[in-house]
Every structure is written in structure tokens, then in C-alpha cells.
């Protein structure tokens, strides 16, 4: 391996064409991964098959080798090695890495341009949602009748576990990945992220993790659900090794992305963009990835220890050897609850960014919004044991964890008031992104209020482990989170693709998904309240009607999502060409032309007021510079009819 890397590093530095480094792409990455995995498998199989933990060791080593080979094959190690050897990049190298003049090929490489990385994240997220969504359809199909027999018990458990983890990863990256990378740097007036190479690294680590996760399906599945609780995880088939490796690689990716995005927002804002002039979306993204920076290393350590239990017979989670399953639940939920806000905050705050644009009013209570975000971030690390009320761990602390959890509803409620206050008496321009705002308000209220029931210790004793919990967190993560991400996609689609999204297909999809969603999970609340346990393949006839309703709702979501996919793909390819600022918005990303130049701004902007000054006068600017400036955009939105007719 080291030989290969040295060879890459020694490739001639960038004199025009040639050079091994310049030929690396997704294909060489997959080839490298497969080659390394085969070597790892062969050696470990030969040497280590002996002993009790043989298959776990072989699987773990093979998967580690896959990830290493994949990263070698994409060229991720070239930069550090060149640094070590003192061969710094020339400007030309940087331009090549940024994907200058490479057409579509740059999307399949270790490309550093944040706009390319944003699109790559968007596509990876959509693939993950497609996989997770298909698994969800299988789960609901199995549950259509009490004993459908559609899936066997083992398969059912495996499908539920993989669905859970795929969706968790997809929702974690769905806003900060595509929009945090593509939009946020332009929004703050920067030419790229703080660390462009780390940006590509985080994306390709995520890509390397996806096959590892999917390999679980062929290794006996993840029978524990996405939480991977010990000691069941200690006893599970080798699919669990794929689980631990997925988390370890994904945690690295998230930590790198978190450091990069946080540094970008903190140090690269345009001159004059003080904190009170920074768009609220930037706060949302930073809050999300900032929480992820300490949270995911803990998740990683929980899984490193699990891997050691499984491959070396370590005693971390095995009570018979002096370990404790409570250790796992603590480490897991120390990450797990902040992670909920990693998912929900940027999605809700993206909608908060959208609301002023379509109500033509400043964001109501900007400072309150910022304080609420800070409050949520602060409280979210003090609530983890509300997932453990019934585990017997520290029952004396249940009361205090109940209190901290309920306190979170205060800043969360304030975020609602900020959005409602912005809409209040506004002249609302009801577009697809704005409809997502309304849908989020509806869904998140239901998700939030049911969360208060679950945070209540006596109620939780009755409801924990039931379908009520499943319905609750789908209302927050999907009803608020995914709806927010789809709203953000509708909103920024014209900037990211240069085309308008098909409004008619978007509308049909919106209603199918939102109605289907509420039908599905209202049904699930009902059967959960009646006592149906989650993660169980068969259920009592008592729950038959609710489950049938849920499954019908789920099919409705499925059809709606297919239509959304059609809308995105067809509009991306042949949608109407979008003007630079179709919504008449005032943040900086709408000031750059379509298609966006490689370094975004020929001249870096200087910000002289806040981004929500709708209805205020234009500043006086030298006439030659007016077209660069968002205030030059139409005071009123580009006539709605324009965009509508141009689509038909």
C-alpha cells in the first residue's frame, strides 16, 4: 500500500497533461477498494480464521481494507504525502483539483470546488433516500396484515436495522451536505470552503461508507435496529461488523465536514458581514455541524469498543466479563440526542431562511432565533438519558433528565414563533418552498408535542419501545427534517442547477408526500398508543386497521417521492433556464450569475446591511457594479407567471 501511495505522490507535479494523480476517479477508487479488500480478505482469511472471532476479524479487516483502498484510489492520500515531501501545489494543480474545465468528469473525482462537492452530496443523499425508502416500503408491505409472511423474522429485523441506519445517515447529511457546501460559502461571500481538500475528503469518506453499510445486508443484517444496542450487538451476525465500520468511517467524514464548515463560517465571511448581518441559515448549519464535532467521535468510540468486543472478545459491554451494556447506551445517546438536532436544526432553519423571501418581510426576531439556536444546542447535550428511563440506569436522575428535555421545548417553541411572526401579516407568495414551511409547522408541532409525552417519565414507561416512539421521531426527522430539506431543494434548485423545477410535478409530489406522511404516522400513533411494539415482524389482530392505514399512507409517500425524483431529474435536464435571482432574494448566493463562476466572486463583496431588508431603500452604488449586487434584483419577485409559463 505504501508503495502505491508513494508512487501517486511522486507523480510529476502538474505539468500539463499526464500524471497518475490526474487520472484517478470513482472507477480507480472502486478498483482500489476491491483490490485492497481482496488482499485483506485473503490474508486475514488465511492467517486469522483460527479462533473464536475468525469471521468477525475477517469481515472487519476486509472492510477496513476496502475503505483504505477506496481512498487511495480516489487520491485522498496524495495531498498529505506531497506536503510531507515538500512538494507544494502550484496554482495550476489547485485549479485542476477544483475541476476547472473538466465538464461532467469533475463530479466523479476528488474535486475540491465546493459547488461540485455540494452536488455530489445531493446525489449521494438522494441515493441513500432511495435505498432507505425502498426498505421502508418493504417494511410497510410486511406490516400490511398481522401475519403477512412477506418477510421472515430475521430478514425483517435486518431490513428494519438497515433502513434505520441508511435514513439516519441520509438525514444527517441532507441539508449540511448539499446546501451547507454549495450554498453557504456563496451566501457568506467566500470563494470556496476553508479547507477545499478536506471537503472532498469528507464527501469521499461518506461514499466509501455506503457500500460498507449495504454489505450488512449480505452478512446477516443488523438485527439490533439502528441503535446497535449491546449485548445483542455482541451476539449479532457479521452484519454488525459492517455496522461498526460504517459508523467509524461516517464519523470521520462528519468530523471533517464539521471542522471545515465551522471554520468557513467563522473565518471567511465577507467584509462587513457581522454576526447580526449573517443569514440565519449559516447559524443553522454551524449549529448542526458544531454539535456533530463532539458527538460523532463518541459514537465512533462506542463502535470501536463494540468492534473490539466482537473481534477480540473484549469485555466492554459483556456483563459476564466486567463490562456493562449501560456503557453503550450512555456513549450512544451522548451522541444520539445531539444528533437529532444535527438533523432537524439546519432543516428547520433553512425554512426560516426561506420565509422572509416569500413574505417580503424581515425575519421576525432575528436575535431570538439566534438565542434559541444556542439554547437548543446547549440543552441538547444534557438530555441523553431520556432514552434510558426504563433501562434501570440511574433512576434517581430520571426527574432531572425529564426536566432538561422539557426545557428544550421552550427554545424550540421560540423558533416556531419566529417563523409565524415572519409570516404574520406578510404578503405571502405561496411557492413550493413556502408550502414546505407550512407543512413543517404542522408536522413539527405534532412531533414536538408527542415528544413532551415521551419525555415524561411515567408516560414513557407505558410508551417506550412502542410504535408511538417510531411515529414520534418520524414526525420530527421526516415531517420537519426531510420536509425542510425538500423545501431547501425547491428553493435553491435554480441556483444549484441553473434551471427552474417543474412546479406542477412538485405540487403533486408535495401533496402526496404530506398527506401520505400524516396518514402513515397518525395510524402508527394509534397502534402505538394501543400497545403495538416496534421492530416486531408480526402483531396482534387488534392493531390490524391502524397498520393497514399506515401501509396505504406509506405507498402514497412512495408514489409522491417517485414523482419528486422525476421532477428533480427532468427539470435538471430540460427545465426552464432560471434567472440569476428568480425569487428576488437578498442573500449573496443570488448575486452571482448562472452558471456560477469557478471562484464565485470575481470581486469579493462587502456587506453593508442585513440580508432581510425587504422594503428598504437601495444603497447608492457605483453604476458599474450594480449588476453584481442582489439589491439590484427586482424589488418584487420575477413575475410568477414568467416562471410558470417558462416551465410549460
Amino acid at each position: 500500500m505504501s508503495e502505491a501511495m508513494v508512487e501517486f505522490a511522486a507523480a510529476p507535479p502538474s505539468t500539463g497533461g499526464g500524471g497518475l494523480l490526474r487520472r484517478l476517479n470513482l472507477l480507480t477508487a472502486v478498483a482500489g477498494g476491491v483490490l485492497f479488500a481482496a488482499i485483506g480478505w485473503y490474508i486475514s482469511h488465511r492467517i486469522m480464521q483460527l479462533g473464536d472471532f475468525g469471521s468477525d476479524r475477517v469481515v472487519t479487516i476486509t472492510l477496513i481494507c476496502w475503505a483504505l483502498g477506496f481512498m487511495v484510489g480516489i487520491g485522498a492520500f496524495a495531498g498529505p504525502l506531497r506536503w510531507l515531501l515538500g512538494r507544494d501545489q502550484e496554482h495550476e494543480d489547485e485549479m485542476f483539483l477544483a475541476g476547472k474545465d473538466q465538464g461532467i468528469g469533475r463530479y466523479f473525482r476528488f474535486t475540491t470546488d465546493h459547488k461540485v462537492v455540494g452536488i455530489q452530496y445531493l446525489v449521494v443523499t438522494m441515493v441513500l433516500f432511495a435505498v432507505g425508502g425502498t426498505l421502508a416500503m418493504t417494511i410497510r408491505t410486511n406490516l400490511i396484515t398481522p401475519n403477512s409472511g412477506f418477510l421472515g423474522p430475521q430478514t425483517y429485523n435486518a431490513v428494519v436495522g438497515i433502513h434505520g441506519l441508511v435514513m439516519i445517515i441520509a438525514t444527517i447529511v441532507m441539508v449540511t451536505g448539499p446546501f451547507g457546501n454549495f450554498i453557504m460559502p456563496i451566501m457568506i461571500g467566500a470563494r470556496d470552503m476553508a479547507f477545499p481538500r478536506l471537503n472532498a475528503l469528507s464527501l469521499w469518506l461518506l461514499v466509501a461508507a455506503v457500500p460498507i453499510l449495504l454489505s450488512a445486508a449480505f452478512l446477516g443484517g443488523i438485527p439490533t435496529g439502528w441503535t446497535g444496542y449491546a449485548p445483542l450487538a455482541d451476539q449479532a451476525p457479521p452484519g454488525m461488523d459492517a455496522y461498526t465500520m460504517t459508523i467509524i468511517v461516517f464519523a470521520m467524514s462528519s468530523a471533517i465536514a464539521g471542522v471545515n464548515i465551522t471554520t468557513t463560517a467563522l473565518t471567511m465571511r465577507a467584509r462587513g458581514m457581522t454576526w447580526s448581518r449573517t443569514p440565519i441559515f449559516v447559524y443553522g448549519v454551524v449549529a448542526s455541524v458544531g454539535l456533530a464535532i463532539p458527538a460523532f467521535p463518541m459514537f465512533m468510540s462506542a463502535e470501536v469498543l463494540l468492534g473490539m468486543d466482537r473481534s477480540f472478545g473484549a469485555q466492554f459491554y459483556v456483563a459476564a466479563g466486567g463490562g456493562s451494556p449501560w456503557l453503550y447506551t450512555n456513549l450512544f445517546w451522548l451522541m444520539g440526542h445531539p444528533e437529532v438536532y444535527v438533523i432537524v436544526l439546519p432543516a428547520v432553519i433553512a425554512l426560516m431562511e426561506i420565509t422572509p423571501v416569500f413574505t417580503r418581510k424581515p425575519l421576525f426576531g432575528f436575535n431570538v432565533a439566534v438565542l434559541s439556536i444556542v439554547g437548543i444546542v446547549g440543552l441538547s447535550v444534557m438530555v441523553w438519558a431520556h432514552h434510558m428511563f426504563t433501562t434501570g440506569w440511574a433512576p434517581d436522575l430520571n426527574g432531572s433528565f425529564m426536566l432538561t428535555t422539557e426545557l428544550i421545548s421552550i427554545p424550540t417553541g421560540l423558533l416556531f414563533l419566529v417563523i409565524i411572526g415572519t409570516i404574520w401579516r406578510g404578503r405571502v407568495w405561496t411557492t413550493l418552498p413556502m408550502m414546505a414551511v407550512y407543512a413543517m409547522l404542522w408536522n413539527f408541532i405534532i412531533g414536538g408535542v408527542t415528544g413532551i409525552y415521551l419525555s415524561d417519565v411515567p408516560a414513557d414507561y407505558a410508551l417506550h419501545g412502542s410504535m408511538f416512539v417510531t411515529a414520534h421521531f418520524h414526525y420530527t426527522l421526516m415531517g420537519a427534517g426531510l420536509t425542510g430539506a425538500i423545501g431547501a431543494l425547491f428553493y435553491w434548485f435554480p441556483k444549484m442547477t441553473g434551471r427552474m423545477i417543474n412546479k406542477r410535478a412538485g405540487l403533486v409530489s408535495f401533496w402526496l408526500v404530506q398527506i401520505g406522511f400524516n396518514v402513515t404516522f397518525m395510524g402508527m400513533f394509534a397502534v402505538g398508543l394501543a400497545g403495538q411494539p416496534r421492530r416486531v415482524v408480526h402483531y396482534d389482530h387488534l392493531f390490524a386497521v391502524g397498520n393497514f392505514v399506515s401501509t396505504m399512507g406509506a405507498y402514497c409517500i412512495g408514489v409522491g417521492m417517485l414523482i419528486l425524483l422525476y421532477a428533480v431529474v427532468s427539470s435538471w435536464r430540460h427545465g426552464a433556464v432560471a434567472p440569476a435571482n428568480p425569487w428576488g432574494a437578498k442573500t449573496l448566493e443570488w448575486a452571482v450569475p448562472n452558471p456560477i463562476p469557478l471562484e464565485n466572486f470575481e470581486v469579493l463583496p462587502v456587506v453593508i446591511s442585513d440580508p432581510y431588508g425587504y422594503g428598504e431603500g437601495d444603497p447608492v452604488l457605483p453604476p458599474t457594479q450594480r449588476e453584481l449586487v442582489p439589491v439590484g434584483a427586482p424589488r418584487d419577485p420575477v413575475a410568477e407567471d414568467d416562471t410558470e409559463t417558462s416551465q410549460s
Partner: protein, 209 residues
């Protein structure tokens, strides 16, 4: 609303100080992430030790690793960090040779510590599967090893780049940020030695857990 400043140089060259500040924040955040990882291992150690499930933390008749080994490893890491700092203060005063000498010395010390850590991991008088004490002590040693290997890599880079005259009294932010990492690695080694100094569980009730 925005205004625009006149065009800068065509190649968008960035101010060295700005780049340095940015990387410093990045490294501090990476250290923060790594500290969360180390903290969860330390938490694991004290939690399992305090719980002593089924008296399985450190079973009767088990052997522990001598405490002085961990502290020697920590002392070596601190020494290397100090040598590195000395080298860094050299380049700040424009003395290139002192940077190469200090960082080179630091790398050599780390190399010795790596060997020491390897020997410790290979010769623990217990197995990783023997007890939760054994498991946790192993993983702390392995985490330290991981730190040391990264430090070795970046240390070698600084020595080599110093040799190639990449640094000066005004351009040494790379030396500085790697110094931050080095200091953290030393602190983590001390924390690890401190943690493993507490062996016997305070919770000795028979049949607890």
C-alpha cells in the same frame, strides 16, 4: 444589501496570516473532536471501574501493568512536545537550523516512545479479553499509539519542510498549528497515564451489579 470593493489581483492570492488563522481554528476544532473521543475512553475506564459489574473489573489474581510505564510514555511525549516548542521558537526568531534540530529531536523522541508503547501493548501481563480493566487499558494504549503515529507523520513533514527552507520568521503557521496538536497529544498521554494509575475498583461489594 451589499456593496463591492475594487478588483484584487487576478489570482486571488490570500494573505498568509488569514490562512494561518483559519488553519489554527481548524486544528483546534480537530483537537476538540479528538478530545471527545479520548474523553469517552477515559469515561469508559472510570465508569466500568466504578461499576465493577459482577466483580469483573479486575478479577482476583489478575495482573496489572506497572504504572510507571504509562507515566514514562507520557513523560517522553511531553519531552518531545517541549523539544518541538524549542524548535518553533527558533524559527520565530528566524533560526532555521534550530527548527530542524528541535523538530528532528522531537521526532526521534516520539519514535522511541512509539517503540515503548508498542512494547507495552505487546507485553501487557493480561489479555484484552481477560477483564474490562484489560480491555480498557488496551484501548487507551492503542489510542495513544494512534496519536503518536500521526504526530510522527506531521513531525517528519515539518523536519523535511524545514530542511527545504519552507519556513521563516514570518511564515511559520504550519509549525505553529502542528505544535498545538503536539501539545494536545502530550496532554492526552498524561491523561491516559493518570487514568490507568487507578486500578482497583472502589466498588468491592460481592455480587454487585
Amino acid at each position: 444589501m451589499t456593496a463591492v470593493i475594487p478588483a484584487g489581483p487576478a489570482r486571488h492570492v490570500e494573505d498568509l496570516d488569514a490562512v494561518g488563522r483559519r488553519w489554527r481554528l481548524g486544528v483546534v476544532l480537530f483537537i476538540f473532536a479528538d478530545a471527545a473521543f479520548v474523553a469517552s475512553l477515559v469515561f469508559t475506564y472510570f465508569y466500568l471501574r466504578g461499576l465493577n459489574t459482577d466483580s469483573g473489573w479486575f478479577p482476583d489474581g489478575a495482573a496489572s501493568t506497572p504504572i510507571w510505564i504509562g507515566w514514562t510514555i507520557a513523560a517522553g511525549t511531553v519531552l518531545s512536545a517541549a523539544a518541538y516548542r524549542w524548535g518553533h521558537s527558533g524559527i520565530r526568531a528566524g533560526k532555521e537550523e534550530r527548527l530542524v534540530l528541535g523538530a528532528g529531536l522531537a521526532v526521534l523522541v516520539v519514535l522511541v516512545v512509539v517503540v515503548g508503547q508498542l512494547i507495552q501493548l505487546a507485553t501487557f501481563p493480561f489479555g484484552v479479553a481477560d477483564s474490562s480493566y484489560g480491555s480498557t487499558t488496551y484501548v487507551l494504549g492503542a489510542a495513544n499509539m494512534f496519536h503518536l503515529l500521526i504526530t510522527l507523520f506531521v513531525g517528519l513533514g515539518i523536519v523535511n519542510r524545514g530542511r527545504l527552507h519552507k519556513f521563516s520568521s514570518t511564515n511559520n503557521w504550519q509549525v505553529q498549528i502542528i505544535g498545538l496538536w503536539w501539545t494536545w497529544v502530550a496532554a492526552a498521554a498524561v491523561l491516559s497515564a493518570f487514568t490507568t494509575s487507578f486500578v482497583a475498583s472502589p466498588n468491592l461489594l460481592v455480587g454487585n451489579g
